[in-house]
Amino acid sequence: MPTAPDMRRTTYREALRAGLHEALKRDPRVFLMGEDVGKYGGTYAVSRGFLEEFGPERIRDTPLSESAFVGAGIGAALGGMRPIVEVMTVNFSLLALDQILNGAATLRHMSGGQFTVPLVIRMATGAGRQLAAQHSHSLEGWYAHIPGIRVLAPATLEDARGMLWSALQEPDPVIIFEHAVLYNLEGELPEDAGAVPLDRAAVRREGKDLSLIAYGGTLPKALQAAERLAAEGVAAEVLDLRSLRPLDEAAILATVGKTHRAVIVDEGWRSGSLAAEISARIMEGAFYSLDAPVQRVCSEEVPIPYARHLEEAAIPQVEDILAAAGKVLGRDA
């Protein structure tokens, strides 16, 4: 494929790295801390070389003390810094949940609006690399439950590159979930790519027959499913949520208003999932537009297993999306 002169071939990892690099360059208040972000170069190699470039004051390796260093991020944000805290995976973030929920999310309100916590927390989420049940879960839906924080899920190179800077401009705490299988995602990004707005969902593919609503790691799968459906003459619209809190409810209702059929693809467990929330919002706001019951494609209700075939069976796959699409179209057997 010919490459336009201002486009550059890159990866999700590189895009994240470029975003971090820009933030560290542009704002002296920004610093990065977390486990293995410095000497090791970041678990996913996102910050390799940063320790040499920015020094140990701004690229801080932390002990394995999630609660202490996330809390220190809150304190530093209260003290006028713009910390970026990296938590290795969402499963580890549970050790810091007290700080995130009882602290970061709550301080503004509890203090009657006196304090603001401009903290950004990045963490990897999701399955697909055979890391089994303590490194593979998608718990972003839990975080999206919490008022007082923003939750983002970059699923494209553009968002990997641009969401961080926008998140740093937010006066409130922001959690960015990077799906682990996306780090090697390749594609093209304009040379001058930069900050992107945070609040709006994005239609990644237009269509009129049904809506596939996805985010993060499930977006590429939804796009593949849409491609397959197109071959069968079905035009699926693919909505990338981008922001999990707040949800862009208007975009969700608009796409359902257009297609009258919705399939939600969410790697979280079905019970009490983000998909359940979206489904409920559709019911509340677009009931009379619906032509079929909303379908959800979620993870099976099991801790993510190690064996590849079991892991694959546990999480949403393109075939599952197609089956759900068949259901809402009335084409299932």
Binding site: G71, L78, G113, P171
Partner: protein, 331 residues
């Protein structure tokens, strides 16, 4: 009164010692009024009184600079008062009025004041310590010579967050003074029933941090140690740990029937009550007479009456504002 405190009193002089008395008395009378108002259902929810422990906040906080930061616990009315948050704003907060120092969003356990760098009011035991680290880190990275003081009880020493924080503060050389108010009880559980090693300083020293214990029932001892330790943290840019051995005379909260300790034990500690002890010492030095004490009591009573009137006259935040302070910009 400890023998060494005689020398401390000499050093401080009559007026500074009188100031310490005034601070303790303000806390004592404020807390008594709060308990009374709780009985009248003016104050609801949890109410944790500081009565018996006044010497710690009164002896320490005056040695901080306005730029220094304080992180406190849910038993923090005394700390807030000494830091200078007006009694009326605290009382109004406990009433749930919007004139309260947290607009009635926090109540007794969540007093905040940004201008005075008073960061609450944390009701998760151990939860304030990581935040104190971050405040100190921000000061350090921005080259500000400030000290962060973090208060907590001995119950917090059992929390993982405590040990994570000790390690990180020492590892990163953060200017934090960790103040353990050891009142022997984590709610109703005695330290002997919750800690394998009750020498808290010994445990902290394993993090390569200097630690010492001070009689928290003696405001003069607290004052001496606080002045010295705050100065050390500021000058060395290193954290310190201090254990104030103290006791609360009241139950844990207004819900607590106090079944887990002997009334004799309470009576024994009341004999060390820091307020009469200081009054006694001052009288023996001729620094205080009945008239001056009565004047002081009247002054404190007036302040508290005014604070209560302020809270009574306060207004309820309109329900329309309910979602106002969740985000800076409502999404």
């Amino acid at each position: 009164m400890n023998p060494a405190s005689v020398l401390i009193a000499d050093e401080l002089g009559a007026e500074k010692v009188f100031d310490l008395l005034r601070l303790m008395l303000r806390i004592r009378r404020f807390e008594e009024k709060a308990a009374e108002l709780y009985g009248e259902t003016k104050i609801r929810g949890f109410l944790h009184l500081y009565i018996g422990e006044e010497a710690v906040a009164a002896g320490l906080i005056p040695y901080l600079r306005p730029e220094d930061a304080i992180v406190a616990t849910y038993r923090e009315h005394g700390h807030a008062l000494v830091r200078g948050i007006p009694a009326g704003a605290i009382m109004a907060e406990m009433y749930g009025k919007q004139e309260g120092c947290s607009r009635g969003h926090g109540g007794s356990m969540h007093l905040y004041d940004a201008a005075r760098r008073f960061y609450g009011g944390n009701a998760i035991v151990g939860g304030g310590q990581p935040i104190a680290l971050g405040l100190a880190l921000a000061d350090k990275m921005q080259g500000r010579p400030n000290v962060t003081v973090c208060f907590f009880g001995e119950g917090a020493v059992a929390e993982g967050e405590f040990h994570e924080s000790m390690n990180l503060a020492s590892l990163w050389s953060l200017p934090v003074l960790f103040c353990c108010e050891n009142n022997l009880y984590a709610m109703g559980t005695h330290i002997l029933r919750s800690h394998a090693q009750t020498d808290l300083c010994l445990r902290v020293r394993s993090y390569d941090m200097e630690a010492e214990s001070v009689d928290g029932m003696d405001v003069l001892a607290v004052a001496e140690a606080s002045e010295r330790l705050i100065r050390a943290v500021r000058e060395e840019g290193r954290p310190r740990f201090v254990e104030f051995r103290t006791y609360r005379f009241r139950p844990h909260s207004m819900f607590d029937p106090d079944l887990y300790r002997d009334k004799k034990e309470i009576e024994g500690w009341k004999r060390k009550d820091p307020v009469p002890a200081l009054i006694e010492e001052m009288r023996s030095r001729g620094w205080l007479d009945d008239a001056r004490l009565a004047t002081l009591e009247a002054e404190v009573a007036r302040e508290i009456a005014e604070a209560t009137a302020f809270a009574e006259a306060g207004t309820w935040e309109p329900v329309e504002n309910l979602l106002q302070d969740v985000y800076a910009h409502r999404p």
